[in-house]
């Protein structure tokens, strides 16, 4: 297996792939802990200001959040198919599937930008120093919206990083002949993309669905 250019302390490429995959999982776990901080802020603040959180969620555009959920789930499916195609060295299919995944990522960011623009146009920005918060003077509402921008913004940043990763992989798939190292890199990039989807799976109910039954 030396033709695969495995770093020699690994011996074989399989061992190297195993080690890098585990390393990536450790990185993903640290990403979960980053969002854990934001979700902890959410749970503490929500207990403190239940009315404000219900009102804020009622104010968010549920249809945009829901469409974006479907978009990210579909992109997770296409990137999983890309890994499968790469595993059988079908690089043409891999390229197409990575391309579709990237388009879905851009669609997600498009909808998110639209929603941010809608909020900012009516003054529901972070910080709470606009006329919007004079009209909607529920105690804690600025806390809700500040957390909303911080958390969904951190997530959107991860989508952008994921798009860069997918873009680099796509360029490699187009340029390089099929090889196990490249297939493995597609697998690692896909793991990161899936994590971005998993985080959104939790942000969707927390920021769009649980409006306390009010709406």
């Amino acid at each position: 297996m030396s033709e695969l250019g495995a770093a020699h302390h690994y011996g074989t490429f399989e061992k190297e792939a195993h080690a890098t995959r585990f390393g990536l999982w450790i990185f993903l776990v640290s990403e979960i802990l980053l969002f854990a901080g934001l979700i902890t802020l959410y749970s503490g603040s929500r207990v403190m200001h239940p009315e404000a959180f219900a009102e804020g969620i009622g104010h968010n555009l549920r249809w945009v959040g829901s469409v974006n959920t479907l978009v990210l789930i579909t992109s997770s499916f296409t990137v999983a198919l890309a890994v499968r195609a790469a595993g059988s060295q079908q690089m043409r299919s891999t390229g197409w599937l990575l391309g579709v995944t990237a388009i879905l990522g851009f669609v997600f960011l498009g909808f998110k930008s639209f929603e941010y623009a809608e909020h900012l146009a009516e003054g529901a920005g972070p910080g709470g120093d606009t006329l919007f918060y004079v009209v909607h003077d529920t105690r804690g509402l600025p806390v809700f919206f500040s957390l909303y921008y911080l958390t969904t913004g951190a997530h959107a940043f991860h989508v952008i990083v994921g798009l860069i990763v997918i873009g680099v992989l796509l360029a490699k798939v187009v340029r390089q002949p099929p090889n196990p190292r490249l297939s493995h890199q597609v697998e690692l990039g896909a793991l990161y993309w899936h994590l971005v989807d998993v985080i959104w799976i939790f942000l969707w109910p927390l920021y769009y669905l649980t409006d306390g039954g009010g709406g």
Binding site: V47, D197, L209
Partner: protein
């Protein structure tokens, strides 16, 4: 690369995720009151489990990988619930 997770399993996972998303949306429209958060996060956890097990192939990874993930999830739960419990049980004087 191994192929323990079949193409069929990937398709079924995707269909399952779409169904659970629809159920989550419907239950949110039903205004369940206090049960709302439990139901929504319960469905989200099942969806995340599907993605992690099949799309991310955790089902064919070694125990060490699962252990790292479970440790992180345990700390998330511990942090979020203990902070919420602390805030919820504060004396009104300190709120």
């Amino acid at each position: 690369m191994k192929h323990h997770v079949s193409g069929r399993a990937l398709v079924l996972t995707f269909v399952g995720l779409l169904l659970l998303t629809a159920i989550s949306w419907l239950t949110a429209e039903m205004h369940l009151g206090r049960a709302e958060m439990v139901v929504a996060l319960g469905i989200a956890s099942i969806k995340a489990g599907l993605v992690i097990l099949f799309f991310m192939h955790l089902i064919e990874e070694e125990v060490s990988t699962t252990l790292a993930l479970l440790a992180a999830l345990f700390f998330v739960l511990l942090l979020a619930t203990l902070v919420a419990a602390e805030v919820a049980t504060r004396s009104p004087v300190y709120v």
